[in-house]
Amino acid sequence: MDTTSHLGLLLIFSAFVSTAFAVLARDEPREQMKFGARLFGTFVGSALLLGWLLYPLPL
């Protein structure tokens, strides 16, 4: 496994955090799955969006 991939580390981190939040915030496994998937998508989507928004900045 390539542990130096920024995208890969972002995906793994998002999976960990969204699973923990979903398990803590919802009681039913089905609800947990739905909430976790939504969180995961939001994490990854917003990171990609922010990445593109910051792309033109001279950092």
């Binding site: 542990t3 580390l9 793994i12 981190f13 960990f16 955090v17 923990a20 803590l24 039913e28």
Partner: protein, 131 residues
């Protein structure tokens, strides 16, 4: 009405002891209170996240409050409970500041501790009958 899956009637337990158990063993508070699905998930997930952070060269921060962020990161690291002490005893968590994944590793380690603190609060609420 049947209880939701992974959930059974919470036995009477001292909420502060539940918090202590939840801190020492991630998911321990939920397991104690009969929330087996949540407890087992946290028991696997949080130490795995902590260990992964160390594996990719993350650091366990020292308690040095001269630099406030370092001190706060140390408190967050400690939030994971027993895995923190196991890692310290095993000599892990030195970190490698020149590794490309160093900051990522720190983030994984810190967030794993913070998530366990959240799990402690959740177990406290369950023990008090709020959830």
């Amino acid at each position: 009405m049947p209880a939701p899956s992974g959930r059974s009637a919470a036995p009477a337990a001292n909420p502060y002891l539940v918090c202590a158990a939840a801190w020492v063993v991630p998911g321990g508070g939920h397991l104690w209170l009969g929330r087996y699905q949540k407890g087992l998930t946290l028991l696997v997930l949080l130490p795995l996240m902590f260990g992964f952070g160390l594996w990719i060269q993350g650091r366990i921060f020292p308690f040095q409050f001269a630099d406030l962020l370092v001190g706060l990161a140390a408190i967050a690291d400690l939030g994971i409970g027993l895995p923190y002490f196991i890692a310290k005893l095993g000599g892990a968590g030195a970190g490698n500041v020149i590794a490309i994944t160093y900051e990522y590793g720190n983030t994984y380690v810190i967030v794993a501790g913070l998530l366990n603190m959240l799990a402690v609060l959740d177990a406290f609420d369950i023990a008090l009958g709020r959830k």
